[in-house]
């Protein structure tokens, strides 16, 4: 398909691999954090990893919206369906993520709760129109790409005076998470997570533009190259980061210029600003409480806010014991460092969120077989299963 196939071309990939091998100085290492799970997925699916010289390393970041939502918020969604009897509408990726006591939306549905999988926020509005006697809650999650569609649904519901519709808002902000990682002691002081540069988000940046990253590049003196999600996009952007590091530059560059501009989608930004405001603090799985890192619904739309309508309270919750998702999301550990990886925890039977979403690092390692070289345990379990 146009604008996909060209960016998966083998000859371009080989040319770029050769250029990276030529330009990466053997005397130093290049640790490049790909913030987005979409990049993690592309790196493993197309084996970009294997085309890199050994001193060019990808550090996987927390940019998987499903992975970073803390268990307490999924418990809240379950309560909305089970205690309050609401129809809870969720994107498919969220359905299998383990909540407390290893429950999930999917399990709740099997036990009789009314949980519906939606493709678009507008599907949730339709369900609300068709079920006027029921409460319908949109379980809204995701980074800046899914926030504008939620804003459109809220405005539409307000215009239609859809009284049985509300939104359980869990939208989070990419720049706040990047800053938090760069500020963390692991990166700043201890240096246990070396990050020399970033591959910046693709689709998030189509909405927010490249401007928000200018601050990090300057403040933390790290190159940021916004990269598309296709394999040769990732490789070209990696080459651009390497060149910046070689030349001692730390700038924001844009490899994904076919979609991303400096200002982004201003219409979408205005819609979001109209409906949402910053939360003073929000908990992320792996990162803990991050100030001003998430959005909540403004007072003007309070009657469409599920948290207020149902008095939602989020209790602290702990991740499954031995699950290393929190450290993996910070880039401090790899999936193969987890005792459960590939033995107890597999995509069919996930213990942590990183194994559920196709953008999670554990799922990417498992699906595309990185573990074969790295983990005897994973290999044994898989062979036993086959």
């Amino acid at each position: 398909m146009k604008y996909i196939d060209e960016f998966r071309a083998r000859d371009l990939a080989h040319g770029l691999a050769a250029a990276i091998a030529r330009e990466a100085a053997p005397s130093r290492a290049y640790h490049i954090m790909e913030f987005c799970g979409g990049h993690t997925h592309a790196i493993f699916r197309y084996g970009v990893h294997d085309l890199m010289p050994s001193n060019v390393r990808f550090v996987h970041g927390p940019g998987c919206p499903v992975c970073v939502l803390p268990i307490g918020r999924i418990d809240n969604a379950l309560e909305l369906a089970e205690t309050h009897g609401a129809i809870v509408c969720s994107y498919g990726d969220m359905m299998r993520v383990p909540a407390s006591k290893r429950r999930s939306l999917l399990k709740a549905r099997a036990e009789g709760a009314d949980v519906r999988m939606i493709y678009s926020t507008l599907d949730a509005l339709k369900i609300a129109r068709e079920n006027p006697s029921r409460q319908v809650v949109l379980f809204a999650i995701g980074f800046e790409t899914t926030t504008p569609p939620t804003a459109v649904a809220l405005k539409q519901a307000a215009a239609e005076r859809l009284e049985n519709f509300s939104v359980f808002c869990n939208h989070v902000l990419t720049p706040a998470a990047i800053q938090h990682i760069l500020d963390s002691p692991e990166v700043r002081e201890i240096g246990s997570v070396p990050i020399d540069g970033f591959l910046g988000p693709s689709h998030v940046s189509s909405v927010i533009g490249s401007r928000p990253y200018e601050f990090f590049a300057e403040e933390f003196q790290r190159p940021v190259v916004i990269a598309g999600f296709e394999p040769v996009d990732v490789m070209q952007a990696t080459l651009m980061v390497i060149r910046q590091l070689n030349e001692g530059r730390y700038e924001v560059e844009n490899e994904y210029a076919r979609v991303v501009t400096r200002d982004g989608n201003t219409k979408a930004q205005a819609l979001v600003a109209d409906v949402f405001e910053l939360r003073p603090s929000f908990e992320w799985r792996g990162l803990g409480h991050v100030p001003y890192s998430a959005l909540r619904i403004k007072d003007a739309y309070a009657n469409l806010d599920a948290e207020r309508r149902f008095g939602v309270e989020t209790k602290p919750s702990r991740d499954a014991k031995s699950c290393e998702c929190p450290s993996i999301l910070r880039g401090a550990k790899k999936p193969t460092d987890c005792k459960l990886f590939g033995t107890v925890c597999t995509p069919e039977n996930p213990i942590g969120s990183c194994m559920v979403s196709s953008e999670g690092a554990c799922a990417a390692y498992w699906t595309y077989g990185r573990f074969r070289q790295e983990s005897g345990a994973g290999k044994g379990a898989r062979e036993a299963a086959e």
């Binding site: 398909m1 146009k2 604008y3 996909i4 060209e6 960016f7 000859d11 371009l12 080989h14 040319g15 770029l16 050769a18 250029a19 030529r22 987005c36 799970g37 979409g38 940019g63 998987c64 919206p65 499903v66 994107y91 990726d93 493709y119 678009s120 926020t121 507008l122 599907d123 995701g142 980074f143 790409t145 899914t146 504008p148 569609p149 459109v152 988000p201 693709s202 689709h203 998030v204 189509s206 909405v207 999600f229 040769v232 996009d233 070209q236 080459l239 490899e255 994904y256 210029a257 076919r258 979609v259 991303v260 989608n265 201003t266 219409k267 979408a268 819609l271 979403s357 953008e359």
Partner: protein, 84 residues
Amino acid sequence: MCLAMPAQVVSLDVQRETATVALGPVRKEISIALLEEVAIGDYVLVHVGFALHKLSPEEAERTLSMMREAGENPERELAEGDRP
């Protein structure tokens, strides 16, 4: 979750703020509520049922030629680099 696909607009319903796009052989109705302006024939990035942004064919071509250039064989690049 963050997957998005470039798709071509084949018809528009400006009143309802929707468009039909072609994703290879598949036709799909999406919302264009987030776009300032869009025309039939444009490529847009489709994500969770919404067009997030238009795609620029000129920039796509520029990126591809940048990639081709980077992949050119090293002898030739060296020779160019050697030029004063």
